[in-house]
Amino acid sequence: MIVLITGANGFLGSAVVRRLTHCDLREIRCLVRPGSDRSRLASVIAESPESNIRLVEGTLANARSIEIALAGVDIVFHIAAGMTGSAADLFLSSVVASKNLLEALRCQARTRVVLISSFGVYGRPGSSSKSILTEETSLETMPERRDLYSFAKHRQEQLFWEYREVQHFPLVVLRPGVIYGPGGSEISSRVGLSAFGLFLHLGGNNLLPLSYVDNCADAVVLAGLSETADGQVFNVHDDDLPTCSQFLKRFRREVRRLRVLHLPFWFTRSLSGALLKYSIRSNGQLPPVLTPYKCDASWKGCRFNNSRLKALGWQQNVSTEDGLSRTFAAHREKVKQPKAQMPS
């Protein structure tokens, strides 16, 4: 079996490649952009020099390079996505790139596609913070009112279902929560935001849907190789979830000190409303970074359920305790690295 991984050098992508080296595969083909950073993949290759990893240079912006990368492929793990930038940047790197991939797949109707989507595609699971977010929770109806990343991921996933309707290829969608681990980002926006030298703690005691990167990679590979997963969606998060407060407390103790301002949800929501009004009144002098709508989606809180993933056979191999210890140790090392300073 030949598998192709897009975004193979990314945080999750490289973990998926590492996990795939333990499977009996004819070829693990990694699509990498010419001249791009390949340090994560290089580590994976160094760990398993005998593995059948093959790097293919190309970009999802170019139809020809996708065709070359797809030749003979049985499963595509589509992990590449834009994470930051303007709306146009995110749409180009997530949605238009996906469309190019889907167009190239027209000639390969039997190729299975594993899409890494996001929790960001969901609408609010319910009015209560005790509501449970499951795969059956309705999708966002006004994604353009959410953050740009969620907007792009929502359209990306929609695009895959639209094409599947026509092309009938096997499709599995995974929606991870907050993927974390050594080399990942420090603190999710679900916990809070940095502003003016402070860390605004906005998540309060909400559960944080963490997914340790190796656990998430296990889920991706399991669902991708499963014969029964076609047409299904899986929420991906670990079992023993901490609250945002617990995560932040431990981060401050084990990584670095932060000046934290705790803002209760009602206050954040009122502030968001005021910011939105100011943005409108000032003709966009300050962009509406926070709005009540975004606030509800990010910090109202809910509970989570991963029973569908478990029914497929997934189990959490790295406990949250171990995951956090490893992650915070890596962040701590990074903090110790010297930074350029202005001479006095």
């Binding site: 010419p34 001249g35 970009t59 912006a61 709306a87 146009a88 940047d89 180009l92 790197s93 949605v95």
Partner: protein, 362 residues
């Protein structure tokens, strides 16, 4: 009459166009957007509640009948799209670089004149508040005669646009005659031509590659540093484009026979250089305080503008669009004279030609 505006090309800059047009509802309204990749048009229309979006420009022209078309596509397509829009009777706002070369610019202006439609180009920083203030001071005689102009522009290749461009060997910037330099040099040159009236000044340009070899293709040869010396009949100018210097900034210094102005487009400040009238060591101590006082004054003025909700990132674009729409309504002169557009186009050709055979590694 409210002008119906259509935008073709739904990349990053299109957001700025939509937002600025929406601030002048008495003059214009965006009624449709278009992109060859209809998903891009869809995302823009959806985020800004624009009534219609298209993947076909001809269909947009036929169905929407806009009064003004903003062309924000890659430059190689500007002339062809402009021709279609002029044939449909539209006025044109075109992003920089206007065209690929002087010949195309001349043809574009000829077509606009023949169609009796107005044309302007995205020289937006010319209309930023510090630029307009500097222009006013120069016209008032505050700086005396112009002696020299320094125009410098910093670019971050690791920024969102730079990274996307460098990550894609097929990116449209790599297909411009002057590549990355070509896509940015208008911002440097229109700050020079504003004060240097010569039609064909003497130009000496040299390009550099500062980065190390990384891609194994044409991207490794991309010029990332440019120095240009411009000599007119009565004044000179230096033009500096740099990807290596940090922090990235966009600065114009106007040296006059009486005073010198320092325009910082990034930080929205305009400072008249302080000269000391005190003797000896005092004369070397005092200017720092004079300069600090002037920056403080500028900071307070900017806070005042912020309080009045008049401190916008695209202030220059807003003024340029407002003046352009007004010129259409009133039948008056375009905000950017065609003579300046042609002079800049000639200078770009000259610089590209000279740097093609004059490159060094740093």
């Amino acid at each position: 009459m409210v002008l119906k505006v259509a935008i073709v090309g739904c990349g990053k800059i299109a957001d700025g166009h939509v937002e600025e047009v929406r601030k002048m509802p008495e003059l214009a309204c965006v009624t449709a957007v278009c992109d060859l990749e209809s998903l891009m048009a869809e995302q823009l229309a959806r985020r800004y509640s624009i009534p219609a979006y298209y993947g076909d420009f001809e269909m947009l022209l036929n169905k929407e009948r806009p009064d003004v078309v903003h062309i924000a596509t890659p430059p190689a397509s500007h002339l062809a799209l402009a021709r279609m829009a002029l044939t449909a009777g539209c006025h044109l706002y075109i992003e920089k670089p206007l065209t690929l070369n002087l010949r195309e610019t001349e043809e574009l202006i000829r077509l606009a004149n023949e169609a009796d439609r107005k044309l302007t180009v995205g020289y937006s920083y010319l209309f930023d508040p510090p630029s307009l203030e500097a222009h006013k001071l120069v016209n008032s005689g505050y700086v005396g005669d112009i002696v020299h102009i320094e125009s410098s522009y910093g670019y971050n290749l690791a920024g969102p646009f730079g990274a996307a461009m460098m990550g894609d060997a097929m990116h449209w910037v790599h297909r411009l005659p002057g590549k990355l330099i070509h896509n940015n040099i208008d911002h440097l040159l229109y700050r020079v031509t504003e004060y240097l009236p010569d039609d064909r000044p003497d130009i000496h340009a040299k390009g550099f590659v500062r980065r190390t070899v990384r891609y194994g293709d044409h991207r490794d040869d991309l010029l990332d540093e440019l120095r240009v010396m411009v000599s007119g009949a009565n004044a000179t100018a230096n033009v500096t484009f740099t990807c290596g210097a940090r922090p990235t900034g966009y600065i114009t210094r106007i040296y006059g026979s009486v005073n010198t102005l320092h325009v910082d487009h990034t930080n929205h400040t305009l400072i008249a250089e302080a000269s000391s009238y005190l003797p000896g060591a005092f004369g070397r101590i005092a200017p720092a305080f004079h300069t600090a006082r002037r920056y403080l004054k500028q900071g307070i003025a900017n806070v005042g503008r912020f309080r009045r909700a008049d401190f916008h990132y695209f202030a220059g674009l807003n003024t340029l669009l407002g003046r352009f729409y007004q010129s259409i309504q009133d039948g008056t002169e375009e905000p950017v004279p065609y003579r300046d557009i042609l002079r800049i186009s000639w200078m770009i050709d000259e610089i590209i030609q000279q740097t093609a055979g004059n490159v060094a590694n740093l």
